[in-house]
């Protein structure tokens, strides 16, 4: 085993939150930091210059974690066995320098103020008995107002393109009227809108809804950020999600945080290296991480602070695998809290329309080049008369329609078969004239949805896989029905020639891609009796271990998580930079 010189901070993963910690902590301190990244080095140039290859990136998952080495098992409930994800399905965790943010879709949200005070708000507005007993939703340990400065800093460092709807409590026309107050607008104007998005906007306005442009972590114009990175604007090329951006218009660690972090020369990323476990001493304090490099050699990197900055599922597993005499069930799990409140995202596109003779140019643009409505997200509407709590954002089909993944399913509901002469004639005519309404909705936490270590399956390094126990419940089925009805109303107002609607939500499927927004499992809270970490992601029972990312969410809201993941990381970075090393190993307050 090769033992390295100690550093101040070591992170498991070289993705978004690790690069944020490095870029915010290192320049004004003399601290040293190392990140252990399982994937390879990659940069805008030359690595993304010639990557518009659907088969390689969409169908063969060139930028995703290597499933041959590590997978995750799933079962719908405790009464049946869990089986591994043998080929990519429900979610697509990324790998490589910069992590999943290199190939994200780039919707950049703030959660609503009521999403933070979740249980308190719902009980106050609808009564203490409104939340079902099995639903283990809880308040975040911090408020929207406390997080607002960090959302603001994040958006300006990223150069987010969007239209504000609420600046210091003043409503701004054209923005999201339901958003929490922001201290200033977005740094860049919204991205251009596509033809189908404009059809959606007109219909939504006629229904007295409030469409607004999607806030995007993609530059709508040339931009020099506060770090001094000069970046180009979006080319609307149509190869965005699951691709690295060839002009660096899509914000990622590569475009934004890695350059200032690496410029300190006190930051090192060790690529193609897989962390086996967080090591602890006899007192249960973390001492560093043990990892295997690309040549199969074992290394140990000692550090004062260990941060698990990987994907949600890896962060949960990193804690569970760190079993020792001091922590027999793993770090953070002294009170059985790790794996609890595992949540996901109800992401569906149940309503489709067909417009004879229309072409919408769906193959251009990206996932952010359409408007959307939040009239039915969060608690933006009165839930007194509906049979669920929560909500979701409604959006029209966006850009980046690629042929391989769409031809086989696009006409479901319009043609009897997805092959044969009738299908061929239809797909030839309608590949660019079918669009729909989708929603991305909340996933409440339940006692029966959780993660632990699998008893049967091991990864390529001989360690147990993480086991997910998860399924939808009545609240989500009711929410699905309601949001589908609202989406149907909007689509009908867009005057399609034909429509097809999937009216009911089936059981959760591990085999079909829905969303990479796996959340919870290492949740933050107000005390060790309701959570694994405090509001900084600092583990209650092992305070020199921090966790970042969406694993910290007590439950998931109806938004993409990256904006909130980033804001939380900004807040944690500030606390580590300004306060942690005054009293290392003590809980931050």
């Amino acid at each position: 085993m090769i033992e390295h010189d100690p550093v101040d901070i070591v992170t498991i993963g070289g993705g978004m939150t690790a690069s944020i910690i490095a870029a915010l902590v290192l320049p004004s301190t003399d601290l040293r930091m190392v990140s252990i990244e399982q994937g390879a080095e990659q940069w805008t140039y030359p690595d993304f210059q010639h990557n518009h290859d659907t088969l390689k990136f969409q169908n063969r998952f060139a930028m995703m974690q290597d499933l041959e080495k590590v997978s995750w098992t799933w079962r719908p409930h405790e009464g049946v066995p869990a089986l591994p994800m043998r080929q990519y399905g429900s979610f697509h965790p990324g790998s490589g320098l910069g992590g999943a943010m290199v190939h994200w879709t780039a919707l950049t949200w703030r959660f609503n103020p009521t999403d933070f005070a979740y249980r308190t708000h719902h009980e106050e507005r609808y009564g203490a008995d409104r939340i079902p007993d099995e639903m283990t939703v809880q308040d975040w340990p911090l408020s929207y107002d406390e997080l607002e400065p960090y959302y603001d800093a994040l958006e300006w460092d990223m150069g987010v393109s969007g239209q504000a709807g609420n600046i210091n409590g003043v409503r701004i026309d054209g923005g999201n009227p339901f958003e929490g107050p922001r201290q200033r607008g977005y740094p860049n104007p919204p991205l251009a809108s596509m033809a189908f998005g404009e059809l959606f906007r007109g219909a939504a306005e006629r229904l007295d809804l409030h469409p607004f442009p999607t806030p995007a972590g993609i530059l709508s114009r040339g931009w020099t950020d506060p770090f001094g990175n000069t970046r180009a604007a979006c080319l609307y090329c149509g190869f965005c999600t699951r691709y690295g951006c060839e002009v660096g218009a899509k914000t990622s660690p590569i475009t934004t945080w890695l350059p200032p972090a690496l410029a300190t020369e006190r930051y090192e990323v060790r690529t193609r290296s897989h962390v086996l476990r967080i090591e602890t001493d006899a007192d249960g304090r973390a001492t560093g991480v043990r990892y295997v490099n690309a040549d199969g050699e074992e290394h140990f990197q000692p550090a004062e602070v260990v941060m698990s900055t990987a994907y949600t599922l890896e962060n949960i597993r990193n804690l569970l695998l760190a079993r020792s005499n001091a922590h027999p069930d793993g770090i953070g799990n002294d009170r059985g809290m790790v794996g609890r409140n595992y949540t996901y995202q109800l992401n569906q596109e149940p309503v489709q329309g067909l417009w004879e003779g229309r072409n919408f140019n769906f193959y251009m643009g990206n996932g952010c080049t359409v408007p959307q409505v939040h009239d039915f997200n969060s608690d933006n509407f009165d839930h007194s008369e509906v049979d669920f709590i929560g909500g979701g954002r409604l959006y029209p089909s966006a850009g980046q329609r690629e042929p391989i993944g769409t031809v086989a399913t696009l006409l479901e509901g319009f043609t009897d078969r997805q092959w044969g002469a009738e299908w061929k004639a239809a797909i030839a005519q309608h590949w660019d004239s079918v669009g729909g309404i989708g929603f991305e909705a909340e996933s409440p936490a339940y006692e029966g949805n959780f993660c632990d270590l699998d008893p049967h399956y091991k990864d390529a390094y001989g360690q147990p896989l993480l086991r997910i126990t998860f399924d939808w419940r009545e609240n989500e089925r009711n929410m699905y029905r309601f949001l589908t009805e609202r989406g149907t109303e909007i689509l009908r107002a867009m005057n399609p020639d034909r429509m097809t609607v999937t009216e009911e939500l089936g059981g959760y499927r591990y085999d079909e891609y829905q969303s990479t927004h796996a959340t919870g499992g290492v949740i933050m809270g107000t005390d060790p009796g309701n959570s694994v970490t405090n509001s900084y992601g600092q583990v209650w029972d092992t305070p020199n271990v921090f966790v970042t990312g969406a694993a910290l969410f007590p439950q998931n809201a109806g938004y993409n998580p990256t904006g909130t993941v980033g804001a939380l990381a900004y807040r944690t970075a500030e606390a580590i930079r300004d306060r942690y090393f005054d009293a290392p190993g003590e809980l931050l307050t």
Binding site: E41, P46, Q49, H50, L55, N59, Y88, Y236, E268, V269
Partner: protein, 309 residues
Amino acid sequence: MSEPTSSEGGLSRRAFLATGAAAGGLVLVGVAAPWATGSHEEHDGQGEPPPRFFTDAERVTVAAIVERLVPGSAGDPGAREAGVVDYIDRKLGAGGFAEPTFIDGPFVEVVEEGSTATPSGPLVVARSELYRYGYQSEGTPQRTYREGLEALDRFAQSQFDGPFHQLGEDDRDALLTVLDDIQQTSEGGDDQGTGASNEATGPEGGGEREGAARDAFGELSPGQFFSTLHADTMEGMFSDPSYGGNQDMVGWTLIGFPGPQRSYSPGEMLGGTRKRPQPHDHLPPMNPDRPDDAAREALEQARRGVKDG
């Protein structure tokens, strides 16, 4: 790190593409050497042709399937004309799985509805729930094809007294429809299939034929065989021509996709484009005025600190 893909050789590719459709058409009449029909590897004039998987007989059967999934003719190319058989042959010939796959056991034990047999291990899932877990087969794609094509011929023989490739279009469609229905049923779909399927399966009804299909396929899943073929056909029809299918970009032309482009304007997003379809290797290089070494330095600051661990 990876180098940008060269855009050289584009002309020779285009010249080759023009011959692709005709070459694909030879498949059905049978040609001795497996790769004599697909000359596309010769475009760069270097290296061995990619390894192939299918026997001559298997190629004939696969062609007889894919030309029903996406029917075509010389003036209106379908899967056979697009080179889909070559695409699948190359994909399988590369060995193993084309996409990352977790292949370690143990493997699931599937129980049929109403079965009273005692399971031998802890990982038992009802047939009706299996689809929710995704791919769980112990077999390889190569085995799915090798054994599935044999099973398809057994199924064809049982229904129409001939191997699949000798059947007429309607009979082949009827058999594929049965497999498609089995696949849809396995995903919680309607047992009766769609109206079209009842019609296509004729007076005997879907149930009897589905039983015959299950008998012919035995341990293999007829639904999985169909979905594998269907997915591979769509990949071969609509992926970049460099993978062997979508010859002359006939798949992209069919649906009006202009292939990979560098950019679109906000005006094009609203009003459409006149950009003509092009394959991936016709994409112009970025920053063509800069020699490679200088370009990286100009575009990126030095990135000291990132290296393999």
